[in-house]
Every structure is written in C-alpha cells, then in structure tokens.
Symmetry: C7
Subunit: 96 residues, 7 copies
C-alpha cells in the first residue's frame, strides 16, 4: 500500500462507515448547520510552521478517533478506500 505523509498541520483521516458512526454513541442532528463526521486518523503531519521557524506540536496522533468538519478537506481514494486530507484545525475533538 502506498504510504502518504501529510505536510504541515495536515492529517489523513479514514471516515467511519455509517455502522461505525452509530456505534460511537454520537449523533449529528439533521438540523445542525455544519454536520461534522467521525473517523480515524491514519497519518499526521510535522506541525504548522511557526513565526520563529519551528513547528507546532500536533495534538493528534495516529489511531485517534476524531470528530471533524468535512468542509475544507480533500477526498482521495487509496486502495479502494476513501480518505480525507484535512488540517488539524478542522478537527473538532478526539473521541475516547
């Protein structure tokens, strides 16, 4: 399988199937303005470039289950599965 390393503060997320989402106990109401999705983080970038030239420490790690805003992410298909490349800032929360 091709490996993918996101740049900057980007992460690669595999969105949950509907079944997995239901099992998590979190429901996004149909009336919500912006419907976040759930998924699993499979790759994490080196962090956002800081003004001093360093990189931010990412809050996310491989394997984290997350709630994320679909808006702003880019869909790709890798080995027949859909993934999203998005910025850490578009991830709302980690689900434990």
């Amino acid at each position: 399988m091709a490996k993918i390393r996101p740049l900057g503060d980007r992460v690669v997320v595999r969105p949950d199937s509907k079944e997995e989402t239901t099992r998590s106990g979190i429901i996004i109401p149909d009336t919500a303005k912006e419907k976040p999705q759930q998924g699993a983080v499979i790759a994490v970038g080196n962090g956002r470039l800081l003004d001093n030239g360093g990189r931010s420490v990412m809050e996310l790690h491989e394997g984290d289950r997350v709630l994320f805003a679909k808006y702003g992410g880019t869909e790709i298909i890798l080995d027949d599965e859909i993934y999203l490349v998005l910025r850490e800032n578009d991830v709302l929360a980690i689900l434990d």
Copy 2:
C-alpha cells in the same frame, strides 16, 4: 458514555433547558440582535496554539456555568443529549 476531548481552544457545552435558564436570573431580551445562551462546560481543550508554539491557558474549566454565543458552535447529540462544541472566544462570560 463516550468521552470527548475538544481540540485547541474549543470547549464542549451542555446548553441549559429553558427551566434552568430561567432560574439563573438572566434574561436575553427578544429585541437583542444576537441572543446568547446559557449552559455548563463539560470539557475543555488544551488551549490556542500560540505563535511561539506554546498553548494559551484556558479561562474556562469543567463545570463552569457560561453565557455563550450560539453562532459558530457545532451541535452534536451524545447519549440522547444535545451538546455544543465551540471556541472559548465565543463564550461571553462565566456566571457565578
């Protein structure tokens, strides 16, 4: 119950029911341009990423009763209750 850890300067808030809101003694006039809501903070993020790579100290803590602008938050349903994920900056004040 699934646990939820908000990222960055986000917090998770459980909005008050109408009865709880009335008991607080604060009323938002119908003529107000932007109607803030009341609720309880149930989870707090690690703080906003600073230019130097550190994190801001959050002003909010779990259990704080708050007045917040609904605008900008994201609604989720967890174990049959509605919650909002929003940024500390969208919280106007703590109610003691």
Copy 3:
C-alpha cells in the same frame, strides 16, 4: 444577584438612563453617524490573550463611567436591569 465574570477583554456595562446621560454634560448629536452611549462598568475581564500567552492589562476598572459604541455589544437582562457585554476596544473613553 447572579454574578457575571466577562471573559478575555470583555466588560459588562450598565447603560445610563436618559436622565443620568443628560446630567453628564455630554450630548451625542442626532447627526452623528455612530451614536455612542454612556454607562457604568460593573465587571471587567482578565484581559486580551497576547501572542506570548500572557494577558493585556485592562484600562477599565469597575465603577468607571464610560462612553461606548453600542455596536458589537450583547444585551442581557439581569434582575430586571439591562446590561451590555462588550469588548474594551468598543469603549471610546472614560468620563471623569
């Protein structure tokens, strides 16, 4: 009475009644584009979050009589009185 602690560089202001405003000697002409109001500061936040993670020292203190731009503030009713939650930046001047 419920206590309210504004977050960040916000303050809570009790707008003057028309009688109090007239007594101050300051009049806002009807032709003014943006009509500022007068009032008393009743609560002051911890200051604006700075890039270095610290907080700005607020220029305003409880009890200050101020001239403020209504625009941008949020109206609330507490124990039958109207208050405004607004940012220090929306306060034009202190009236001595």
Copy 4:
C-alpha cells in the same frame, strides 16, 4: 466641565472653526477625494496595546494642532462644543 480620557490610541480633537482653518494657511481643495480637517488635540490615550502587552508611545500631545481624516471619528458635544474621538492613525500630520 466633565473630563474625558480616551482609551488606547484614541485622541479627542476640537475641530477648528472655519476662521481658524483659514488662518493656518492650509487649504483642502474641493476636488480632494478625502477632505481632512484641522483641529486641536485636547486629550490623548495611553497608547495602542502592543503584542508584548505594553503600550505604544503616542506621537500626539495635548495642544497639538493637527490635520485629521474625519472618517472613523465619533462626534460628541461637551458643554455646547463639538469634539471628535478618533484614533491616532486617523491623524495625518501635526501643524507647527
């Protein structure tokens, strides 16, 4: 007379009467896009909040005669005279 202390990098200016303006020797052509006005600074704020939490040193002082852009200022009437509250950045120049 009520005293007024502008906040941040604001100043209070008393606009010249037409007679005073003419005496200064400066004329704003009718064809000018943005017509600056002349006046006298009667109060000066503590300076703009800097990223490091300090305050900028104001270039203006009480008594300075100035050329300023009316745009952005707020008109108030104090003891029957018109004043403007505006930011130092809206003052173009000091007239010696």
Copy 5:
C-alpha cells in the same frame, strides 16, 4: 536545459502522466470538490521569509512524489514538458 530556481517557499513540480498517476494506487474521485494531482518535485525554494528575517526549512525535497492542489500554481513549458510553479502550502502530502 535551462535551470529554474523557485523563490521563497515555492517548488517546481512535473505533473504525472495519467499512466504514472494510475500506478500510484491513489485515485481522486470524480465527485471530489477540489481534485488534487500527483507529480514529482524537481526544484525547491529557499523557504518562506519569517518575521525574524530567517527562512523556513522546506518540508519538500527534490525527487519527492507529491499530491498537490492545482489551484494557485502557474503552468510553464520547459523543453517541451509542462511544469507547475506552486507554493509548498499548496502541496497536501508526500507519497512514499
């Protein structure tokens, strides 16, 4: 062959042919809002100018195979081949 040295945080990328893209195992669904492309980095700039006057360390290196957003890049033809000049920020990920 003329050599090209991109300025700042820009890189020069040679987009894959359709055959090369297919071999990588990554597919961009037709339904994707923003269709990223694949290619090879052939030149890398000195880095983004930082506030302190230094330059950021580029995450990309010559020879990296990348997934990039076409949007924002500038097409040029050099010795009968198409290249794109784009900013590192428009590169989503490195493909290993």
Copy 6:
C-alpha cells in the same frame, strides 16, 4: 510658512509640474493600469509603529525625488501649492 510634520510612516510630497516630470527622463505609458507620479519629498514622519513599540527607520529623506502611487494619498494646498500626504509604502522608488 506653516510647517507640517507627518505622523507615523507618512511623508509629504510636492508633485512635479509637467515640465519637471518630462526632464526626469521617466515616462508613464498611457496604457499603464496604475499611473505613478513624480515629486519631491518635503517632510518625513517618525516611522511605522513596530510590534515591539519601536519605530521603523524611514527609507525616505527630505529632498528625495520619488515615483509614487497617487492612490491613497491626501491632497492639501499650503501657501498656494499642492502637496500630498502619503505613506512610505505608496512610494515605489527613489530617482537619483
């Protein structure tokens, strides 16, 4: 003659007459989108306020002949001559 001291990074420029402009050897084509003008710097401000509270060192000095974008400047008439108050950033180049 009234003296004028521009604030911040502003300068006061006396635009060339048509005759002076022609003598300089620089012509602005009629087809140019934005037509810069030529003139002489007669007063220079203290510099732009920096984030650390200091002032930038101005690149311009009294007496410099300059090429400037008219856009953004403010016209004033002083002792029957037209002057422009503009920001150093609106000056494109010094003509030696």
Copy 7:
C-alpha cells in the same frame, strides 16, 4: 541615464523582448490562467520591513534573469525602454 532605486522589497525588471523569451527555452502555454513573463532584474530594494524593524535579505540580485507575474507591477518608460516595478513576492523563479 536616470537611476532608479526601488523601495522596500521592490525590484525593477526589464521585460524580455519576444526573441529573448523564445531563446530561454521556457514557454508559457496559451491555456495558462496567469501568464508569467521573463526579464532581467536591473535594480533591487533594501528588503521588506520586518516586525523587529530590520530588513529581509533579498533573494534577487541585479542581473538575475527571472520569471515574474505581470499582475501587480507598475510599468514605467525610462530612456525609451519599458520597465516594471514589482515586489519580490511577484517573482516566481530565477532562470539560470
């Protein structure tokens, strides 16, 4: 010949004639959204003003052959030749 010293991070570029452009081996396709041009740098500014009051080190030097975005530059005619005054940020690459 009049000398011209660009301010800040500006450079003065003499655009190539069509013949010179063809010789370089770089072609801009007719289908390109934004058509960059080629030319030679004839003057370089002191660098962009940094937040700390210093100046950035320019990447460009007199004599560099460059690929630049015409957009944003200002055309001037000097001794019967056309030149462009533009910011270093509008220069895409150096051609060796």
